[in-house]
């Protein structure tokens, strides 16, 4: 069944553990859907061509550029954004590490990196610095020179694997 270009359909998925729903046309990408239909503005848009990584979110646990996937594709998916990392009261360990290691300055690229790192650390619990830099090369940061980010991710990995 084809959805016409000018038709709006209801897109429903789980966002940060809760069911959400809103309407959009097929061409609306997930980043815009999150920001303008669901009013979760933590996910940012930096280039809309998949290079800067600012829009990265988790789809079914995996880091995905939300500007390169259309909301209509996500029916029934489980999506996690930066708003779902900690709680209202507390940052999670990765977020705390970013703060401790001065891993952000303007913070615009940060949500995307946090989500990407969440996926990466899930499948690479004991990364080397080179491995961290390599996975981080899917993100552009113009403020920090990346050092603090690398330290924060390595520190989080170490802390998570400590007995």
């Amino acid at each position: 069944m084809t959805i016409d270009a000018d038709q709006e359909i209801e897109v429903s998925f789980t966002l940060n553990g809760k069911p959400v729903s809103a309407r959009c046309q097929p061409r609306m990408h997930l980043a815009d859907f999150l920001r303008h239909r669901l009013h979760r503005t933590g996910t940012h848009i930096g280039c809309e061509h998949g290079v800067c990584g600012a829009c990265t979110v988790l789809v079914d646990g995996q880091a995905v550029r939300s500007c390169l996937i259309y909301a209509v594709q996500l029916q029934g998916a489980e999506i996690t954004t930066v708003e779902g990392l900690g709680t209202d009261q507390e940052l999670n360990d990765l977020q705390k590490a970013f703060r401790e290691h001065f891993a952000l300055q303007c913070g615009f690229c940060t949500p995307g990196i946090l989500m990407s790192a969440t996926d990466f650390l899930g499948s690479n619990p004991d990364p080397s610095e080179d491995e961290v830099r390599e996975f981080l090369s899917g993100h552009i940061c113009r403020c920090t020179g990346y050092e603090g980010i690398v330290r924060a991710i390595l520190a989080t990995a170490r802390a998570r694997s400590a007995p």
């Binding site: 069944m1 084809t2 959805i3 016409d4 270009a5 000018d6 046309q25 097929p26 061409r27 990408h29 815009d32 809309e48 061509h49 998949g50 990584g53 990265t56 995996q62 880091a63 995905v64 550029r65 500007c67 390169l68 996937i69 259309y70 209509v72 594709q73 990407s116 996926d119 990466f120 390599e134 996975f135 090369s137 899917g138």
Partner: protein
């Protein structure tokens, strides 16, 4: 940068997808990983009337292999699955060793192996690997299916044998027994923004003579290119042999200029990278 309007279909079967392609032809685009098509849609460089999302198709049936010794990847195998030593490319070392260079960690989560092959970006690693391995692209349409050898698949810049009504349902990766592989890549940053990539496959017989040699290059022209290696089969590799191959790379292939590198640079670097691959593959033979 927002896409132009498109209708959207998410077929549940290959047959349904092929019917859509038959109906819409060049007005449709296949959405698999979306990592390449997404930017084109967002930039309005691609303006299909219909987007055919194949991500909901389950139960891909793999076509019959052209040879007994090959690995088939269907259209929804994600690039990420090719990285692990025991992943889909466990028996295709050339593709496996190139996988970390393909895009980035994040794009490999969605990007598909077949998508990269079908797109044919002139700097992409997987089309080069397929060419060197002499693999096959399996196409299907509402009218039937056909298998196109990689050497016939890439025609021009981002232009392949695939007609608009066809879908790449699988790609076949030959397993080359007793063969060793090497590849080298140069980019503007480290290995990103690739300027030149060389990949070499070498098999020698018990006497140490070359039984099979394949040399492929990409990022040098509008599509991946294979060197004619017939003249170099049958010899025992030595410095002269390496030199002759590198000379052939320089003289018989075509090279392009763009803002990132001159044709001269690409010509020179293609030979250098080929030489480095050959050196790697021949240097520790002595230790065998």
């Amino acid at each position: 940068m927002k896409p132009a309007p498109f209708s959207y279909a998410a077929p549940r079967s290959v047959g349904e997808a092929l019917e859509l392609l038959a109906r819409y032809g060049a007005d449709a685009r296949i959405l698999a990983g979306g990592q390449t098509l997404g930017p084109m849609l967002n930039m309005r460089i691609a303006t299909p009337s219909v987007l055919v999302d194949i991500n909901r198709i389950a139960g891909w049936k793999l076509p019959r292999r052209a040879s007994a010794q090959s690995v088939l990847t269907h259209a929804l195998i994600r690039q990420r699955e090719g990285i692990a030593p025991d992943g889909i490319f466990a028996e295709v070392p050339l593709a496996r060793m190139m996988m970390p260079m393909v895009g980035h960690y994040q794009t490999r989560n969605r990007g598909t192996v077949c998508g990269s092959i079908a797109h044919g970006d002139p700097t992409a690693e997987l089309p080069l690997a397929l060419l060197v391995l002499d693999g096959t692209v399996h196409l299907a349409s509402a009218k039937g299916s056909r298998a196109v050898p990689a050497r016939n698949f890439y025609i021009g810049p981002l232009t392949t044998e695939r007609t608009p009504e066809e879908l790449v349902v699988a790609v076949e990766w030959p397993i080359l027994a007793d063969t060793r592989f090497a590849f080298r890549e140069v980019g503007v940053h480290g290995t990103h923004s690739t300027l030149c990539t060389a990949a070499v496959a070498l098999r020698t017989d018990e006497a140490g003579r070359v039984a099979d040699l394949r040399v492929g290059l990409t990022a040098i022209a509008d599509r991946p290119l294979l060197l004619d290696t017939a003249p170099f089969i049958g010899e025992v590799p030595n410095d002269d042999w390496c030199r002759a191959i590198c000379d052939a790379v320089r003289s018989s292939l075509s090279f392009v200029s763009d803002m990132h590198a001159s044709a001269e640079y690409r010509r020179h670097t293609a030979a250098v990278l080929t030489e480095r691959c050959l050196a790697e593959l021949t240097s520790d033979r002595a230790g065998e």
